[in-house]
Amino acid sequence: MKNKIFKYFLVSTTAILLCSCSKKIDDVYQNPNAPTRVPVEALLPHIIASMAANAEGHGTMNDIRYVGAYVQNFQYAASLSVFDEMGYNNSDVAQSTWRMHYYDIGQNNVMMIRWAEEEKKWDYAGVGQAIFAWSWLTLVDYYGEVIVKEAFNTDQITFKYDTEETAYNLVRDLCFQSLENLNKTGDNVSQANLAKGDQYFYNGDAGKWKKFVYSVLARYYNHQSNKATYKADSVIYYANLAITNNADNAMVKFAATAISGTNSFFGTFRGNLAGASTASPTAIRQGAYIANLENGTNTAFSGEQDPRAWYLLRGNTAGTIKGILPNKGQIASLPIATDRPESFYGVSQNSTSVVNTIPSTDAACRFIFRNDAPFPIITASEVLFMKSEAAFRKGDKTLALQAYTQAIDQSFDMLSTTFNVNIPVGKEITAANKMAYMSSIVPGSVAGLNLTKIMLQKYIHMFAHGVLETWLDMRRYHYTDLDPLTGQQVYKDLVVPSGSDLFIDNAGKLVYRMRPRFNSEYVWNILELQRIGATTNDYHTKPLWVVTP
């Protein structure tokens, strides 16, 4: 009897234990302390912010401060900067693009796309793919060979680099996938819902996102101008579908509240333009090259004062627009104090030393150097310049001239609408001075058009915001390529650093790529870098695949 009871007891106890355990175990698997899944609407804002510069300061704006020196948009206020010298820093300086793509956008976007597809929010999936297409292209043009196939594999610790072509192919594929998704309606696609995550970009307008994707495709084809497979027609085709009106400009906007991270990276609130160390030379001023293009000194546009100058650049006490020479610093470049341009925060440089003060407000700041200024990612003008260049290369000079004219027109309009803030009295763009300038710059017939005009007008338009794209343009023309038509440098009057002004590791060569991020790759993925030859001192001078025939 006793034994029987015992047996029943045993059997029933075991049974109870067996069936309840698995459930109880599963109940506590999920991390209760922080979300492991969030709505896709909550993921998009940070992804968008990272395209410019997010609250942690990562995005293209961060790197533009350094690359601007390569393309002579900016030069360092003090002398001797490795970036003015087309060199690099063995650190994470000028390495934000790597982090932006792999981490800040990275898995957030991977998961946003995955979950959006699960939830049939095709618009979110399309936007995610559009952003990825853009960031892959930005990344590969910045670094050359990058990790593509193995990227975002969380179970790996070393990663193989792929060819640039692999990345380029991915960009194209992503664009088409994105368009497919953005074309979808029904299911859970909704402009109002997309606007929740997209408030600071296109506010939920999927049509504009499509134009953004077409613009990325235009860039994709345009970048291959040195290749035998270059298709000018494709550039023109996609440019026609892309952003061609300032109303469609792709811009990251800022809430600009009392929280610093909601303000523009270039504004005074965040004060990121005062780095006075040569290790991180972010105390930047306008370069002499851009200044001379604007003040009529450049022989390409001799004597023509550009009305856009006072929107883009800073004046000096003498009331003129001048810039700084690479690697010389503002004191040596402009010995007369009153010639020295104000800092982008509007601080006078008449003192005997460099003044990197960050004003308490942005009342004296212009253009994209204000706390609430939107930051352009792709503009109508840029697309039109791409179209113009492609048409010109194709030989359709009529189309080239037409697009060239539209591009300059859009460039003027963008400044006089979106960035019409804090312009000195009397320096505003007017219909008259715009007309006067354009009538001089825009040739009357196709015979007057050349690559120099197209590329230099694009260079002016892209100043400060389109630095990364300008860098690729200049690399496409190998900085000093000649315009076959004129026999002159395409980038006319551009003096590239040489001698002691060129970084010692360059061994006389110009910069063509950024070295992969130091604390990601040189420390933790070094074997692969050795394999691709990225450990040599002059790796950064190795021309990109896309700019070689």
């Binding site: 045993l10 698995s22 698997y29 990663f159 074997l527």
Partner: protein, 1036 residues
């Protein structure tokens, strides 16, 4: 106290005094002999069921009064007990045999299962609870050091309530917890130490997310009252713990509590101890120079100014510390009858440490019962309550000690406050820019923890038949800890704008576990079989609220509302009004089959199936086997056992086990990004790998046990080899191509090997004098056998306590290495000297420059008795092992180290000039003379390598205890007192060491740090004080 004692005596007299029965007694006498036929002295002879007892004399003879039919019980060390029923005559010769002892002896292994040690194929070591208690360590864990071969205790420091890291057989995991599992009467109890790191508030930790360096929190098993411990068995190898599952992969410490004897009597014992504590081991500092730079006087703590001339120099070091005082009172009551017994114990421990404001109080209550229900069932419920309060000063970089050492000799530290009681700055108008005076630091930067803990448990044993038994052990463990750390608004460790800072935390723990086992036994002929199947359920939940804030409203308020609400930072779940959680549940099923032949060969195989909530559903289940063999060679080979060799056992075991990560380590989480336009969420830095697997541990051990010469000499030797692979590393850097910055991955492997020898000798044994000596030898080797090729160095970030030295390790090196910056050398190994400065060229790379693992350790225990006197002492020898003396480096860089005394003497550093010829056949010897007094860079740029002291040895007298038992003449006069003894115990009286710092027993982190932790890092570590304990023990 005397009153209590008197009260006890009165109770004893009033209630339990019984008159012995005298009728019909006769004298029995006889001679007791051993296996060899020789008489045995000092054998205890008792009349069963009475208090009558005597001992045999040197010729083995005894006389005792007893009646016919009564039973005489003979007991003797190593022989166990032999019984003799008194017959008609008066003759009582007895031959005692060793074999009888083997039947009696049991060892408690996993699951509260008692096993005959003969059967065990793995090494176990048991420490008697009284021995631990006599050592007077309030944290009983500390008393285990030296008493168990292969067990290392790394104490955080000499402060009251300090945590201790316990490691068995080396560090198996590089990044996870290496502490063993603690089991009390078959129930798992928590021994966590608060880990301050919260990873940005997403884990438990503090809201201020610290690195386990600046404060300390007790390791929770120190809550246990040493007086409740009957014995501790240490299971070192994973074979022994395979049945406990992944948590016991670093071994298990099995605590068996004291139980009442069912002898129908009320037994009361009371004992106390009064302790004074004195700090004698302090780092040396030099007070010859005033503040300044390169001999130029300046208002600074950096003592590179001119020599003091004629000024009063204060002995600040000795003016700071106090004489610590503590007292312990233990009371226990036992009562048991045939079917039920109770034991109640209570304890008070109250300590004022040698550091001002440092106190530790602990109250323990425990009630346990054992009741037989019917024929087959026995239940053993118990409940413990513990309350502890620990007020503790800060330690390490923000502690009082470094500032005390740095303090200028011409300033009296005792004069630390202004007239209004505020911080009196020495050099800076801004008090926050001035170092904290040590008194100011301990009085104004305060920290405290309070814990209330309940440990109820329930055991049931059902034995319906002789061959079948069912046992269940159910235990609940819960505590609430409330703690805070407050920095004064004027503290050096804050900016003025912060206006004080306060960290508060509220930590709740709810742990439940049970094991249910069914065992069947069967004997067929010479074969003995045993089959066990069982189930285990574990459910551990931590909840933690934590908040940090600034702008303190009041200096006396320590509640979290003391801070400015706008400055408060909390843990991640606070947005949902919830605490952060860490919950793990696991179910396990296991079986063990053993077979024995002729009590001489034993084979056993066990297998465990586990299901853990830490892993996702698809790979949540894993299992691992273990097997062991034990061969009693002396019983197997005829003629082997004899006069010299009494016993010889060979054993071997091998096992695989798994170790899981901490909960949620495989789930990447999103952070709130309210700081960005549009807000929302974004992934945190950590790639918490979904495909994480448990770490794998494979071990084998072989060993032997030998006993000689009537068991007077016994040796137990073990060699073990543990291979750990698939090691989980959390927060590991890798390419951002993962999509994250930090990663959690299965990477790397390591190996631990070791030899443990325990030697026990009864040196002397006669009726008056007995001397037993025991050696515990331990030697370990460890090696990192696998690290990913892209990882040049792996380090545990908590250990990066000061300057550029840390617990880093490299492939092929030991797991206990120190990596640091050092000197640059030429190919010949000579120091390179800069041609411009004449100072050494530095190699600013983290390279392996030291290994903390000792060459060997040896614990040497002695216990002697002479008549009523008993003396026991434990020497602890450590040979080898390096220490990074960060304290010395700090003192050198500020000119307070004794090594900077001769700074005025010009010198040429021995080395080779780095002039391009350094690696040629004709290098240039350095000839640049420098005078450090005017060139303090000589001291301030000395690399960390210079301060890694190699091969630090110690030989310390851990404890020395002298006990006197009052004779019957005294106890008889006290009537109710059954026995009375007095003792004196001295801790850490002698320390012989070659270490340059205060005390080589150092740990830069708390036991809350994971991986190898911070032992061997000395940064503001307080040495071990000398303690003298006096006390009385009485039983009624």
């Amino acid at each position: 106290m005397r009153k209590i004692l008197l009260l006890m005596l009165l109770i004893g007299v009033g209630v339990f005094y019984t008159l012995p029965l005298m009728a019909q007694d006769k004298t029995i006498s006889g001679i007791v002999t051993g296996t060899d036929g020789k008489p045995l002295a000092d054998v205890t002879v008792m009349v069963k069921g009475t208090r009558a007892a005597t001992k045999t004399n040197s010729s083995g003879s005894y006389t005792i009064m007893a009646r016919s039919g009564q039973v005489l019980v003979f007991s003797y060390v190593n022989y166990g007990k032999t019984e003799l029923t008194v017959g008609a005559g008066s003759q009582g010769d007895v031959k005692m045999t060793v074999a009888s002892q083997q039947l009696d002896e049991v060892v408690v292994v996993a699951m509260d299962i008692k096993r005959n040690p003969k059967e065990l194929g793995f090494s176990t070591q048991t420490v008697n609870g009284n021995e631990l208690k006599e050592s007077q360590n309030e944290n009983f864990v500390n008393a285990l050091q030296g008493r168990v071969a292969g067990l290392t205790v790394n104490q955080t420091g000499g402060a009251a309530g300090a945590s201790s890291q316990i490691v068995l057989r080396g560090f198996n995991s590089l990044a996870l917890d290496n502490s063993p599992l603690f089991v009390i009467d078959g129930v798992i109890a928590d021994n966590s130490t608060l880990n301050e790191t919260s990873n940005g508030g997403s884990q438990l930790g503090l809201a201020s997310d610290r690195a386990n360096r600046g404060n300390d929190y007790s390791n929770r098993i120190s809550d246990i009252n040493p007086n409740d411990i009957a014995s501790i068995t240490v299971l070192k190898g994973p074979e022994a713990t395979a049945l406990y599952g992944s948590q016991a992969s670093s071994g298990a410490i099995i605590i068996t509590t004291k139980k009442a004897k069912p002898n129908g009597k009320l037994g009361i014992t009371y004992d106390n101890a009064f302790r004074i504590q004195k700090l004698t081991r302090l780092p040396e500092v030099m007070n010859a120079y005033s503040g300044g730079t390169n001999l130029v006087p300046a208002a600074t703590f950096s003592a590179f100014g001119p020599r003091y001339t004629g000024e009063k120099i204060y002995d600040n070091l000795h003016n700071f510390f106090e004489t610590g005082f503590s007292q312990t009172h233990n009371l226990s009551l036992e009562y048991g009858k045939k079917n039920t017994s109770f034991r109640f114990s209570g304890s008070v421990f109250d300590q004022q440490a040698a550091i001002p404001t440092n106190t530790y109080k602990r109250y323990n209550l425990r009630l346990s019962n054992s009741t037989k229900i019917g024929k087959y069932i026995e239940i053993t419920p118990s409940i413990s309550f513990i309350n502890t309060v620990n007020d503790k000063p800060l330690r390490g970089a923000s502690g009082y000690l470094l500032n005390l050492l740095a303090w200028p000799g011409n300033d009296d530290i005792r004069d630390w406050s202004t007239a209004s009681g505020l911080k009196k700055p020495l050099f800076n108008a801004n008090p926050n820019a001035d170092l904290d005076n040590p008194f100011y630091n301990v009085y104004k930067n305060r920290s405290s923890d309070k814990t209330d803990r309940f440990l109820p448990s329930f055991g049931i044993d059902i034995n319906p038949t002789k061959w079948l038994s069912l046992t269940g052990r159910f235990g609940y463990d819960t505590y609430k800890t409330v703690g805070y750390t407050q920095y004064d608004s004027m503290s050096f460790y804050l900016t003025r704008a912060q206006k004080g800072q306060q960290d508060n935390y509220y930590r709740n723990y709810y742990g439940y576990n049970h094991t249910i086992n069914l065992t069947a036994k069967k004997t067929i002929g010479k074969f003995n079989g045993r089959l066990m199947v069982g189930n285990m359920w574990q459910d551990y939940e931590f909840q933690q609220w934590a908040v940090v804030g600034n702008n303190l409203k009041s200096y006396s308020n320590t509640d979290s509302n003391n801070t400015d609400p706008l400055t408060r930072v909390r843990l991640s779940n606070s947005t949902k009004n919830l605490p952060n959680y860490s919950i793990r549940r696991s179910a396990a099923y296991f079986g063990e089959a053993s077979i024995g032949w002729n009590s001489a060969i034993f084979l056993s195989y066990s297998h465990r199936f586990e299901e853990s909530s830490i892993f996702p559903k698809d790979f949540r289940k894993y299992n691992y086997p273990a097997a062991s063999v034990s061969i009693i060679v002396s019983d197997l080979v005829p003629g082997l056992k004899g006069k010299i060799l009494n016993f010889w056992k060979l054993r071997g075991s091998l096992a695989t086990t798994a170790r899981s990560s901490s909960p949620y380590a495989n789930q990447s989480v999103f952070n709130n990004v309210t700081t960005s336009s549009g807000g929302g969420f974004a992934y945190a830095f950590n790639n918490n790998n979904l495909y994480l697997n448990p770490e794998k541990q494979k071990t084998f051990e072989v060993g032997t046990e030998l006993r000689f010469n009537d068991n007077r000499v016994s040796v137990d030797a073990t060699y073990y080899n543990t291979k750990n692979s698939n090691l989980i590393v959390e927060g590991f850097r890798s390419s951002y191509a993962t999509g994250f910055v930090l990663n959690t991955l299965n990477v790397g492997a390591n190996k631990n090997e070791g030899v443990e020898v325990a030697l026990n000798i009864d040196l002397l044994k006669n009726s008056k004098f007995a001397w037993n000596t025991r050696f515990n030898f331990n030697k370990m080797w460890n090696k990192v056998t696998e690290l990913p090729s892209n990882v040049p160095e792996f380090y545990q970030s908590d250990t990066w306590t000061y300057a550029n030295a840390r617990g880093g390790l490299v492939l092929g090196g030991a797991t206990t290495t120190i990596t640091s910056y050092g000197y640059a050398r030429n190919n010949n190994g000579d120091l390179l000297i800069s041609t411009t400065t004449g100072l050494p060229v530095l190699d600013n790379n983290f390279r392996v420059r030291g290994d903390r693992n000792p060459d060997f350790t040896l614990g040497w225990l002695n216990s002697m008795s002479y008549k009523n006197w008993k003396l026991s002492f434990l020497w602890d020898l450590k040979v080898g092992g390096d220490i990074f003396n960060a304290t010395e480096r700090y003192l050198t860089t500020i000119g307070k180290s004794v090594r900077t005394y001769d700074r005025a003497m010009p010198r040429v550093i021995t080395g080779i000039l780095q002039d391009g010829l350094e690696n040629t056949a004709t290098p240039t010897r350095n000839n640049i003379s420098i005078t450090p007094a005017t060139n303090q860079s000589y001291y301030t740029t000395m690399p960390e390598e210079e301060f890694i002291q190699k091969d630090v040895n110690w030989f310390r007298l851990r404890d020395l205890s002298l006990n006197y038992t009052f004779g019957s003449n005294v106890t008889k006069s006290l009537k109710a007192v059954h026995s009375l003894s007095a003792f004196i115990t001295v801790n850490d009286l002698v320390l012989i060491t070659n270490y340059g710092g205060a005390d080589p027993q150092v740990n830069g982190n708390t036991a809350g740090s994971r991986g190898v932790g911070g032992f061997g890092f000395d940064f503001g570590n307080l040495g071990t004080p000398i303690s003298i304990n006096l006390g009385l023990k009485a039983s009624f």
